[in-house]
Symmetry: C2
Subunit: 329 residues, 2 copies
């Protein structure tokens, strides 16, 4: 049985898919679909390989109305930097939702995950941040710190960004990059309490295992997107802050209670909110922020639905650009 498979490499995907409003909109569609309850999204398959200080996660989701579904494989091997290799890699495979045949291999080394993760932050900001954001703050100084702020800036065009990190030089470097890329004022801020005090939108992007954002720093008119915790053992937000916000929103409740900030809040006895509201339900019209003074928080663990959405978008963008090659399997 001959079947044509489209193969795209990381460099081709970087050219064809950008973190732009189109990417944000396609990821918002994924959340809208999640909000209908009709998405089929099994639990994440996860395998740790302690001998190699590695792990691998597999995510997937079927979204009615999308022609394909993606299966994403994300290895993280944390001794790789010693070998001069990146810790995170991986690929997405796009299958026809009608026949199950492989349609495309997206050899993105994690690039599409970076884009869809940042795009989810923008969806959260679009629906939950105050209408006017003058200053945004980011905790963390890596790839997602840069991308989350770039994505949020598309939906809330703030004029200033503050960057906090444990390593002051990395925070300065991140601020310089953001200033250059977004054409806005950007500073490193050594005091995380001051960063939160001066921001209307804060994104946490670290692999922290102890809270880096304290409940006593919350203030009216603040939105927080916490995207760092995607595994048991990670925790960025003080459990008391989860209890104190006016509205806590999960990307997927069943994932957040195991892998997100909600997990720690439940473990600390701080969660009294019952079944948490999901971002998809808010995209579908359930109440999000209802006044400018509220404090909101969105807990992002990363969903297979986002992967299916970005993979579908990537294939169509790459085809339109004439990129990639076909092999007959």
């Amino acid at each position: 049985m001959a079947n044509d498979i489209f193969i795209l490499t990381e460099s081709e995907l970087r050219k064809a898919v950008r973190l732009d409003m189109e990417a944000i909109d396609v990821v918002e569609q994924a959340f809208a679909a999640l909000g209908t309850g009709k998405v089929i999204m099994p639990p994440i398959l996860s395998m740790a390989i302690p001998e190699a200080n590695g792990e691998v996660d597999v995510k997937t989701a079927y979204i009615p109305g999308f022609d394909g579904f993606a299966i994403k494989v994300s290895p993280g091997f944390f001794d790789n930097p010693k070998l001069g290799l990146p810790s995170l890699n991986g690929l997405m495979i796009l299958f026809s939702a009608r026949t199950g045949l492989v349609e495309a291999l997206l050899l993105d080394n994690g690039y599409l995950t970076d884009v869809r993760t940042a795009a989810a932050g923008a969806v959260a900001a679009r629906h939950l941040a105050p209408a006017t954001v003058q200053t945004a703050g980011v905790m963390g100084t890596g790839v997602q710190a840069r991308l989350q702020i770039a994505a949020a800036h598309l939906v809330r065009p703030f004029s200033r960004v503050l960057v906090w990190g444990r390593d002051a030089r990395k925070a300065q470097s991140c601020a310089r990059d953001l200033a250059a890329n977004l054409g806005i004022e950007a500073h490193a801020e050594a005091d995380p309490a001051r960063l939160v005090a001066e921001s209307q939108l804060v994104v946490t992007t670290t692999p922290a295992e102890e809270p880096i954002l304290k409940a006593e720093w919350l203030h009216p008119g603040l939105h927080i997107t916490a995207m760092g915790s995607d595994q048991e053992g990670k925790n960025e937000i003080d459990p008391k802050a989860i209890a104190a916000v006016d509205l806590y929103v999960a990307d997927r409740a069943s994932q957040c209670e195991k892998l997100g900030e909600l997990r720690t809040a439940i473990a600390a006895g701080q969660w009294k909110g019952g079944q948490p509201r999901e971002l998809g339900a808010i995209v579908q019209g359930q109440p999000g922020r209802t006044d400018e003074a509220q404090i909101t928080l969105c807990d992002l663990t990363g969903t297979g639905a986002q992967d299916t959405a970005i993979a579908t978008h990537a294939l169509s963008a790459a085809r339109a650009a004439g990129a990639g090659r076909v092999i007959e399997s």
Copy 2:
């Protein structure tokens, strides 16, 4: 980060990897590793897509001592034959077990699964069938009926094979193929009771949801390999037969109790055996068949360890044959 990825198509894999003693031995190594308890094998990720009468399964396993680990994606879309397409497809991705980088994409459309599944039947026959098998019987008339008998014949060179199927013409066609391929006597047998009575080794290879092999047909000196049931709802073997055999062996107990014949036996209250023995433990030296008159049964649901073993073997065989192409991701 440039990373060279080796790509192999189904036709290249069919040339490089055969169902031979080498494939059986590599799959036996996977079971031996499972028997040490050191294999890391997470539960199968499974997603049903009822709208398309489809499903997709993802399996993986890390085996200490193997350079790579495979992630296998197996879609089954059961309306495909109406479109002139095969129901089963899929691919394997081989990752470095040291860095998590993608090493090879094996676009096998399920071929390597066919081989590793039949090879597991041969491992079961090698350790559990009577030393001398004159007649083998197979229930079912599809690809696995042919491959299981071919694999079993490598380890127990019987001179006669009987084939039963619901469709007599398919049984005749399967028997003709087996006679031609193995150079032995082969007949269709319309009466499954007689097939079992005349065989020392029986392999069941059907998607049956009601038992096709009855407890009252068991006889001394019989070994049964049941490989059809790999999902809830499938059942080939009378639960009373599971209770009646001298030795029941699971490929993986945790899978068989959910997906294999063991599931139905437990549900029917027929399982009194406690923690079942696993094939890997027998490969490692725990008792299997201890006399020729015993009745043994091996329940195969298919393990990620077999996938890692066959994918590693396939890459090395294809490289040795100079097959495939490399792309830089």
